[in-house]
Protein backbone atom coordinates (compact mmCIF):
# COMPACT_ATOMS: atom_id res chain seq x y z
CA UNK A 1 0.00 0.00 0.00
CA UNK A 2 2.88 2.38 0.74
CA UNK A 3 4.42 1.60 -2.64
CA UNK A 4 1.05 2.13 -4.30
CA UNK A 5 0.59 5.47 -2.55
CA UNK A 6 4.03 6.57 -3.72
CA UNK A 7 2.83 6.25 -7.31
CA UNK A 8 0.34 9.08 -6.67
CA UNK A 9 3.24 11.51 -6.42
CA UNK A 10 4.15 13.19 -9.70
CA UNK A 11 7.41 14.91 -10.62
CA UNK A 12 7.53 18.55 -9.63
CA UNK A 13 4.95 18.31 -6.88
CA UNK A 14 5.41 19.91 -3.46
CA UNK A 15 4.34 17.24 -0.99
CA UNK A 16 3.94 16.91 2.77
CA UNK A 17 3.98 13.39 4.17
CA UNK A 18 2.26 13.07 7.54
CA UNK A 19 3.73 11.37 10.57
CA UNK A 20 3.50 7.58 10.65
CA UNK A 21 2.73 5.45 7.60
CA UNK A 22 2.84 8.38 5.13
CA UNK A 23 6.43 9.22 6.07
CA UNK A 24 7.46 5.82 4.71
CA UNK A 25 6.22 6.78 1.23
CA UNK A 26 9.48 8.59 0.60
CA UNK A 27 11.34 5.28 0.50
CA UNK A 28 9.26 4.19 -2.50
CA UNK A 29 9.80 7.23 -4.71
CA UNK A 30 11.84 6.54 -7.88
CA UNK A 31 15.50 7.52 -7.43
CA UNK A 32 16.15 11.05 -8.68
CA UNK A 33 12.48 11.92 -8.93
CA UNK A 34 12.05 15.66 -8.80
CA UNK A 35 9.73 16.05 -5.84
CA UNK A 36 9.89 18.80 -3.26
CA UNK A 37 9.16 17.44 0.18
CA UNK A 38 7.90 19.91 2.77
CA UNK A 39 8.17 19.24 6.48
CA UNK A 40 6.10 21.63 8.53
CA UNK A 41 8.77 22.20 11.18
CA UNK A 42 10.69 24.22 8.65
CA UNK A 43 12.23 22.75 5.49
CA UNK A 44 11.33 22.61 1.83
CA UNK A 45 13.58 20.01 0.20
CA UNK A 46 13.72 17.12 2.66
CA UNK A 47 16.47 14.66 1.81
CA UNK A 48 17.20 11.12 2.96
CA UNK A 49 16.87 10.08 6.59
CA UNK A 50 20.17 10.03 8.51
CA UNK A 51 21.35 7.37 10.93
CA UNK A 52 22.34 8.42 14.46
CA UNK A 53 26.04 8.52 13.60
CA UNK A 54 25.48 11.00 10.77
CA UNK A 55 22.57 12.94 12.22
CA UNK A 56 22.61 16.72 12.77
CA UNK A 57 20.85 17.69 15.99
CA UNK A 58 19.54 20.86 14.28
CA UNK A 59 17.89 18.94 11.45
CA UNK A 60 14.78 16.83 11.97
CA UNK A 61 11.41 16.36 10.31
CA UNK A 62 8.08 17.01 12.01
CA UNK A 63 8.03 13.44 13.29
CA UNK A 64 11.41 13.87 14.98
CA UNK A 65 13.41 11.74 12.52
CA UNK A 66 16.90 12.92 11.61
CA UNK A 67 16.92 13.97 7.98
CA UNK A 68 19.10 15.77 5.49
CA UNK A 69 18.38 18.72 3.21
CA UNK A 70 18.69 18.48 -0.57
CA UNK A 71 20.53 21.07 -2.66
CA UNK A 72 18.04 23.82 -3.46
CA UNK A 73 16.28 23.35 -0.15
CA UNK A 74 15.25 26.27 2.03
CA UNK A 75 14.91 26.48 5.80
CA UNK A 76 11.91 28.49 6.92
CA UNK A 77 10.25 29.47 10.18
CA UNK A 78 6.94 27.99 11.37
CA UNK A 79 4.87 30.92 10.10
CA UNK A 80 6.36 30.70 6.61
CA UNK A 81 5.95 26.92 6.66
CA UNK A 82 2.20 27.16 7.17
CA UNK A 83 1.92 30.18 4.86
CA UNK A 84 2.95 27.74 2.12
CA UNK A 85 0.25 25.30 3.25
CA UNK A 86 -2.62 27.74 3.75
CA UNK A 87 -1.97 29.79 0.62
CA UNK A 88 -2.42 26.70 -1.54
CA UNK A 89 1.18 26.16 -2.65
CA UNK A 90 1.26 22.60 -1.27
CA UNK A 91 0.21 20.23 -4.08
CA UNK A 92 -0.42 17.12 -2.02
CA UNK A 93 -0.47 15.83 1.52
CA UNK A 94 -0.74 12.22 2.60
CA UNK A 95 -2.10 11.71 6.09
CA UNK A 96 -2.94 8.90 8.46
CA UNK A 97 -6.52 8.41 9.66
CA UNK A 98 -8.64 7.01 12.46
CA UNK A 99 -11.77 7.46 10.35
CA UNK A 100 -12.67 8.72 6.88
CA UNK A 101 -16.29 9.44 5.93
CA UNK A 102 -17.84 8.94 2.51
CA UNK A 103 -18.10 12.74 2.11
CA UNK A 104 -14.34 13.13 2.65
CA UNK A 105 -14.44 14.12 6.33
CA UNK A 106 -11.27 13.11 8.16
CA UNK A 107 -10.72 12.29 11.85
CA UNK A 108 -7.12 11.62 12.79
CA UNK A 109 -6.11 13.53 15.89
CA UNK A 110 -8.20 12.66 18.92
CA UNK A 111 -9.96 9.70 20.53
CA UNK A 112 -11.78 11.34 23.44
CA UNK A 113 -10.75 9.79 26.75
CA UNK A 114 -8.02 7.68 25.17
CA UNK A 115 -5.75 9.65 22.87
CA UNK A 116 -5.53 13.41 22.75
CA UNK A 117 -1.95 14.59 22.34
CA UNK A 118 -2.97 17.59 20.22
CA UNK A 119 -3.48 18.23 16.54
CA UNK A 120 -0.09 19.60 15.48
CA UNK A 121 -0.17 20.74 11.87
CA UNK A 122 -2.80 18.24 10.74
CA UNK A 123 -5.79 20.55 10.51
CA UNK A 124 -4.13 23.00 8.18
CA UNK A 125 -2.60 20.29 6.00
CA UNK A 126 -5.92 18.45 5.69
CA UNK A 127 -7.90 21.61 5.04
CA UNK A 128 -5.59 23.45 2.66
CA UNK A 129 -3.37 21.14 0.60
CA UNK A 130 -4.52 21.10 -3.04
CA UNK A 131 -4.93 17.31 -2.83
CA UNK A 132 -5.45 15.29 0.34
CA UNK A 133 -4.93 11.54 0.35
CA UNK A 134 -5.11 9.14 3.25
CA UNK A 135 -2.86 6.18 3.94
CA UNK A 136 -4.26 3.78 6.53
CA UNK A 137 -5.13 0.22 7.31
CA UNK A 138 -8.61 -0.58 6.05
CA UNK A 139 -9.77 -1.54 9.57
CA UNK A 140 -8.55 -0.79 13.07
CA UNK A 141 -6.79 -3.34 15.29
CA UNK A 142 -10.12 -4.81 16.38
CA UNK A 143 -11.27 -5.18 12.77
CA UNK A 144 -13.69 -2.26 12.84
CA UNK A 145 -13.94 -0.37 9.55
CA UNK A 146 -12.21 3.02 9.28
CA UNK A 147 -14.13 4.00 6.12
CA UNK A 148 -17.53 5.07 7.42
CA UNK A 149 -20.79 6.76 6.44
CA UNK A 150 -19.87 9.53 8.84
CA UNK A 151 -17.06 10.07 11.34
CA UNK A 152 -17.76 9.53 15.03
CA UNK A 153 -14.53 11.08 16.34
CA UNK A 154 -13.66 14.80 16.46
CA UNK A 155 -12.95 15.96 12.93
CA UNK A 156 -9.64 17.15 11.53
CA UNK A 157 -11.16 18.55 8.34
CA UNK A 158 -14.44 18.54 6.48
CA UNK A 159 -14.85 16.99 3.04
CA UNK A 160 -11.21 17.18 2.15
CA UNK A 161 -10.06 13.61 1.47
CA UNK A 162 -9.96 12.65 -2.22
CA UNK A 163 -8.40 9.20 -2.17
CA UNK A 164 -7.62 6.49 0.38
CA UNK A 165 -4.83 3.93 0.12
CA UNK A 166 -5.30 0.93 2.41
CA UNK A 167 -3.84 -2.52 2.78
CA UNK A 168 -6.92 -3.83 0.89
CA UNK A 169 -7.77 -1.27 -1.73
CA UNK A 170 -7.57 2.14 -3.33
CA UNK A 171 -10.83 3.95 -2.72
CA UNK A 172 -11.87 7.33 -4.10
CA UNK A 173 -14.16 9.79 -2.36
CA UNK A 174 -16.66 11.08 -4.93
CA UNK A 175 -19.79 13.23 -4.71
CA UNK A 176 -21.69 9.91 -4.78
CA UNK A 177 -19.57 8.37 -1.98
CA UNK A 178 -16.81 5.76 -1.88
CA UNK A 179 -15.79 4.18 -5.19
CA UNK A 180 -13.46 1.16 -5.37
CA UNK A 181 -10.59 1.87 -7.79
CA UNK A 182 -8.01 -0.86 -7.13
CA UNK A 183 -7.65 -4.04 -5.10
CA UNK A 184 -4.59 -5.25 -3.23
CA UNK A 185 -3.30 -8.50 -4.68
CA UNK A 186 -5.27 -11.45 -3.29
CA UNK A 187 -8.14 -9.34 -1.95
CA UNK A 188 -11.67 -9.76 -3.35
CA UNK A 189 -14.33 -7.13 -3.90
CA UNK A 190 -16.51 -8.88 -1.33
CA UNK A 191 -13.78 -8.72 1.31
CA UNK A 192 -13.32 -4.97 0.79
CA UNK A 193 -17.08 -4.40 0.88
CA UNK A 194 -17.44 -6.23 4.18
CA UNK A 195 -14.51 -4.32 5.71
CA UNK A 196 -15.98 -0.96 4.68
CA UNK A 197 -18.49 0.78 6.92
CA UNK A 198 -20.31 2.62 4.14
CA UNK A 199 -21.69 1.84 0.69
CA UNK A 200 -18.85 1.07 -1.74
CA UNK A 201 -19.56 1.57 -5.43
CA UNK A 202 -17.93 -0.92 -7.78
CA UNK A 203 -17.33 0.37 -11.30
CA UNK A 204 -18.16 -1.87 -14.26
CA UNK A 205 -15.33 -3.92 -15.74
CA UNK A 206 -12.16 -5.28 -14.21
CA UNK A 207 -10.79 -3.76 -11.01
CA UNK A 208 -7.00 -3.38 -11.34
CA UNK A 209 -4.83 -4.89 -8.61
CA UNK A 210 -1.70 -3.48 -6.99
Amino acid sequence: MVARAARAIEPGMLVNLGIGLPTRVVNFLPTGMEVGLHTENGLVGVGPTMDYDHADCDLIDAGGAYISALPGGAFIDSAMSFAIVRSGRLDLTMLGAFEVAQNGDLANWKIPGKFSPGVGGGIELAQKAAHVMVLTTHTDRKGNPKLLERCTLPLTAIGSVERIFTDMAVVDVTPQGFVLRELAEGISVAEVKSATGAPLMIPDGDIPTF
Binding site: E34, G36, P71, A74, A79, R86, S87
Partner: protein, 230 residues
Protein backbone atom coordinates in the same frame (compact mmCIF):
# COMPACT_ATOMS: atom_id res chain seq x y z
CA UNK B 1 16.06 18.63 -5.69
CA UNK B 2 16.00 19.71 -9.32
CA UNK B 3 12.26 20.08 -9.76
CA UNK B 4 10.64 21.83 -12.69
CA UNK B 5 12.88 24.58 -13.91
CA UNK B 6 11.06 27.89 -13.66
CA UNK B 7 13.31 29.82 -16.03
CA UNK B 8 11.41 31.72 -18.70
CA UNK B 9 12.06 34.44 -21.24
CA UNK B 10 10.75 37.80 -20.14
CA UNK B 11 8.17 37.71 -22.95
CA UNK B 12 6.84 34.30 -21.85
CA UNK B 13 6.70 35.25 -18.20
CA UNK B 14 4.85 38.57 -18.60
CA UNK B 15 2.46 37.02 -21.16
CA UNK B 16 0.84 35.18 -18.23
CA UNK B 17 -0.74 38.51 -17.29
CA UNK B 18 -4.05 39.34 -18.94
CA UNK B 19 -6.18 42.45 -19.39
CA UNK B 20 -7.91 43.44 -16.18
CA UNK B 21 -5.35 41.71 -13.98
CA UNK B 22 -4.47 42.81 -10.48
CA UNK B 23 -0.69 43.01 -10.04
CA UNK B 24 1.56 43.54 -7.04
CA UNK B 25 4.83 45.27 -7.90
CA UNK B 26 7.78 45.16 -5.51
CA UNK B 27 9.97 48.12 -4.68
CA UNK B 28 10.12 51.24 -2.53
CA UNK B 29 11.40 54.02 -4.75
CA UNK B 30 13.99 52.56 -7.12
CA UNK B 31 15.37 49.78 -4.89
CA UNK B 32 13.56 46.52 -5.56
CA UNK B 33 11.41 47.84 -8.39
CA UNK B 34 11.30 45.30 -11.26
CA UNK B 35 11.87 47.84 -14.03
CA UNK B 36 12.59 45.22 -16.70
CA UNK B 37 9.31 43.37 -16.06
CA UNK B 38 7.42 46.67 -15.99
CA UNK B 39 8.97 47.68 -19.32
CA UNK B 40 7.88 44.37 -20.83
CA UNK B 41 4.36 44.90 -19.45
CA UNK B 42 4.34 48.30 -21.14
CA UNK B 43 5.51 46.67 -24.39
CA UNK B 44 2.82 43.96 -24.24
CA UNK B 45 0.21 46.57 -23.36
CA UNK B 46 -2.21 44.73 -21.05
CA UNK B 47 -5.05 47.10 -20.13
CA UNK B 48 -7.31 47.91 -17.22
CA UNK B 49 -4.78 46.87 -14.59
CA UNK B 50 -4.98 47.29 -10.82
CA UNK B 51 -1.48 47.92 -9.45
CA UNK B 52 -0.51 47.45 -5.80
CA UNK B 53 2.82 49.01 -4.92
CA UNK B 54 4.27 51.12 -2.13
CA UNK B 55 4.52 54.10 -4.47
CA UNK B 56 4.21 54.95 -8.17
CA UNK B 57 7.95 55.62 -8.65
CA UNK B 58 8.77 59.06 -10.06
CA UNK B 59 7.38 60.74 -13.15
CA UNK B 60 8.98 59.13 -16.21
CA UNK B 61 10.08 55.95 -14.41
CA UNK B 62 8.76 52.45 -13.75
CA UNK B 63 5.07 52.46 -12.86
CA UNK B 64 4.71 55.89 -14.43
CA UNK B 65 5.19 54.33 -17.89
CA UNK B 66 2.13 52.14 -17.26
CA UNK B 67 0.19 55.26 -16.24
CA UNK B 68 1.36 57.22 -19.26
CA UNK B 69 0.42 54.30 -21.50
CA UNK B 70 -3.15 54.25 -20.12
CA UNK B 71 -2.84 50.69 -18.83
CA UNK B 72 -3.83 51.37 -15.21
CA UNK B 73 -7.36 51.60 -13.85
CA UNK B 74 -6.54 51.65 -10.14
CA UNK B 75 -3.56 52.09 -7.83
CA UNK B 76 -3.34 50.85 -4.24
CA UNK B 77 -0.34 52.63 -2.70
CA UNK B 78 0.92 54.20 0.52
CA UNK B 79 1.92 57.50 -1.09
CA UNK B 80 2.50 59.21 -4.43
CA UNK B 81 4.69 62.01 -3.12
CA UNK B 82 7.44 61.68 -5.71
CA UNK B 83 5.19 61.35 -8.76
CA UNK B 84 3.37 64.58 -9.60
CA UNK B 85 2.04 62.97 -12.79
CA UNK B 86 0.27 60.23 -10.83
CA UNK B 87 -1.21 62.81 -8.47
CA UNK B 88 -2.48 64.78 -11.47
CA UNK B 89 -4.12 61.66 -12.98
CA UNK B 90 -5.71 60.94 -9.60
CA UNK B 91 -6.98 64.51 -9.22
CA UNK B 92 -8.41 64.44 -12.78
CA UNK B 93 -10.17 61.14 -12.03
CA UNK B 94 -8.29 59.29 -14.77
CA UNK B 95 -7.13 56.67 -12.28
CA UNK B 96 -8.64 55.52 -9.01
CA UNK B 97 -6.25 55.63 -6.03
CA UNK B 98 -6.65 53.82 -2.72
CA UNK B 99 -4.23 54.90 0.01
CA UNK B 100 -3.20 52.50 2.72
CA UNK B 101 -0.93 53.03 5.74
CA UNK B 102 2.44 51.55 4.84
CA UNK B 103 2.72 48.87 7.50
CA UNK B 104 -0.94 47.99 7.05
CA UNK B 105 -0.39 47.51 3.33
CA UNK B 106 2.57 45.26 4.12
CA UNK B 107 0.46 43.19 6.54
CA UNK B 108 -2.53 42.96 4.20
CA UNK B 109 -0.22 41.54 1.53
CA UNK B 110 1.45 39.20 3.99
CA UNK B 111 -1.96 38.01 5.21
CA UNK B 112 -2.89 37.17 1.63
CA UNK B 113 0.38 35.32 1.23
CA UNK B 114 -0.12 33.44 4.49
CA UNK B 115 -3.60 32.22 3.54
CA UNK B 116 -5.37 34.36 6.13
CA UNK B 117 -8.53 36.35 5.43
CA UNK B 118 -7.44 39.46 7.28
CA UNK B 119 -6.32 40.86 10.60
CA UNK B 120 -7.44 43.29 13.25
CA UNK B 121 -5.48 46.21 14.67
CA UNK B 122 -5.98 49.58 16.31
CA UNK B 123 -4.00 51.46 13.65
CA UNK B 124 -5.84 54.48 12.29
CA UNK B 125 -8.81 54.37 14.67
CA UNK B 126 -10.25 57.88 14.80
CA UNK B 127 -8.63 58.89 11.51
CA UNK B 128 -9.88 59.03 7.93
CA UNK B 129 -8.02 55.82 7.11
CA UNK B 130 -10.31 53.74 9.29
CA UNK B 131 -13.49 55.31 7.92
CA UNK B 132 -15.89 52.88 6.32
CA UNK B 133 -13.95 49.86 7.50
CA UNK B 134 -15.57 46.99 9.40
CA UNK B 135 -14.90 47.12 13.15
CA UNK B 136 -14.49 44.10 15.43
CA UNK B 137 -14.84 44.18 19.21
CA UNK B 138 -12.64 41.82 21.24
CA UNK B 139 -12.75 41.83 25.03
CA UNK B 140 -14.38 45.24 25.01
CA UNK B 141 -11.85 46.93 22.71
CA UNK B 142 -12.57 48.02 19.16
CA UNK B 143 -10.30 47.11 16.26
CA UNK B 144 -10.26 47.86 12.55
CA UNK B 145 -10.64 44.80 10.34
CA UNK B 146 -8.12 44.89 7.50
CA UNK B 147 -8.73 42.42 4.69
CA UNK B 148 -6.03 40.31 3.08
CA UNK B 149 -4.80 41.23 -0.39
CA UNK B 150 -4.04 38.68 -3.10
CA UNK B 151 -3.56 39.43 -6.76
CA UNK B 152 -3.46 37.62 -10.08
CA UNK B 153 0.25 38.35 -10.48
CA UNK B 154 3.28 39.76 -8.68
CA UNK B 155 6.36 41.33 -10.30
CA UNK B 156 9.44 40.87 -8.14
CA UNK B 157 13.04 42.08 -8.30
CA UNK B 158 15.49 39.72 -6.60
CA UNK B 159 19.22 40.08 -6.12
CA UNK B 160 19.81 36.34 -6.48
CA UNK B 161 17.69 33.32 -7.30
CA UNK B 162 17.87 29.73 -8.47
CA UNK B 163 15.78 27.83 -10.99
CA UNK B 164 13.45 26.52 -8.29
CA UNK B 165 12.60 30.11 -7.35
CA UNK B 166 14.47 30.48 -4.07
CA UNK B 167 15.08 34.22 -3.73
CA UNK B 168 17.43 36.60 -1.90
CA UNK B 169 17.05 40.37 -1.82
CA UNK B 170 19.69 43.06 -1.36
CA UNK B 171 19.66 45.78 1.29
CA UNK B 172 16.65 48.10 1.13
CA UNK B 173 15.63 46.53 -2.18
CA UNK B 174 13.96 43.85 -0.04
CA UNK B 175 11.03 46.01 1.19
CA UNK B 176 7.72 44.64 -0.16
CA UNK B 177 9.26 42.02 -2.47
CA UNK B 178 9.26 38.95 -0.18
CA UNK B 179 5.71 39.75 0.96
CA UNK B 180 4.34 40.16 -2.55
CA UNK B 181 6.19 37.04 -3.69
CA UNK B 182 3.87 35.05 -1.37
CA UNK B 183 0.61 36.74 -2.26
CA UNK B 184 -0.13 36.26 -5.95
CA UNK B 185 -1.36 33.37 -8.06
CA UNK B 186 1.40 33.97 -10.61
CA UNK B 187 4.69 35.19 -9.16
CA UNK B 188 7.20 36.46 -11.74
CA UNK B 189 10.76 37.25 -10.67
CA UNK B 190 13.52 39.16 -12.45
CA UNK B 191 17.13 38.76 -11.38
CA UNK B 192 20.55 39.35 -12.82
CA UNK B 193 21.97 36.48 -10.76
CA UNK B 194 20.31 33.17 -11.53
CA UNK B 195 22.47 30.60 -9.78
CA UNK B 196 22.60 26.83 -10.13
CA UNK B 197 20.36 24.99 -7.68
CA UNK B 198 22.27 24.40 -4.46
CA UNK B 199 24.34 27.60 -4.69
CA UNK B 200 22.20 29.61 -2.25
CA UNK B 201 22.73 29.05 1.49
CA UNK B 202 19.48 27.37 2.62
CA UNK B 203 19.55 29.34 5.89
CA UNK B 204 19.68 32.69 4.06
CA UNK B 205 16.81 32.39 1.59
CA UNK B 206 14.25 35.19 1.94
CA UNK B 207 11.54 33.63 -0.24
CA UNK B 208 11.38 29.83 -0.60
CA UNK B 209 10.86 28.43 -4.09
CA UNK B 210 7.32 27.06 -3.72
CA UNK B 211 5.85 30.56 -3.90
CA UNK B 212 7.51 31.38 -7.23
CA UNK B 213 6.14 30.51 -10.68
CA UNK B 214 8.47 32.12 -13.22
CA UNK B 215 12.09 33.27 -13.05
CA UNK B 216 13.52 35.64 -15.66
CA UNK B 217 17.31 35.85 -15.88
CA UNK B 218 18.40 39.33 -16.93
CA UNK B 219 21.57 40.06 -18.87
CA UNK B 220 21.45 43.54 -17.47
CA UNK B 221 19.20 45.64 -15.32
CA UNK B 222 17.01 48.31 -16.90
CA UNK B 223 18.77 51.67 -17.08
CA UNK B 224 16.23 53.10 -14.63
CA UNK B 225 17.66 50.79 -11.95
CA UNK B 226 20.40 53.30 -11.17
CA UNK B 227 21.26 56.29 -9.03
CA UNK B 228 18.65 59.03 -9.42
CA UNK B 229 20.26 62.47 -9.43
CA UNK B 230 17.68 65.06 -8.50
Amino acid sequence: MRLPQKNRTIEEAVAHIGDGASIMVGGFGVPGTPFNLIAELVRQGQKNLTIIKNDANEAGMGIDHLLANGQVRKLIVTHLGLNAHAIELMNRGVIEVEFCAQGILAERIRAGGAGLAGFISDIGIGTELAEGKQMVTVDGSDYVLETALRTDAALIHAERCDGFGNLCFAKTARNFNPLMAMAADCVIVQSRNCLPIGDIDPDSIHTPGPFVDHVVALDQLHKEYAIVRR
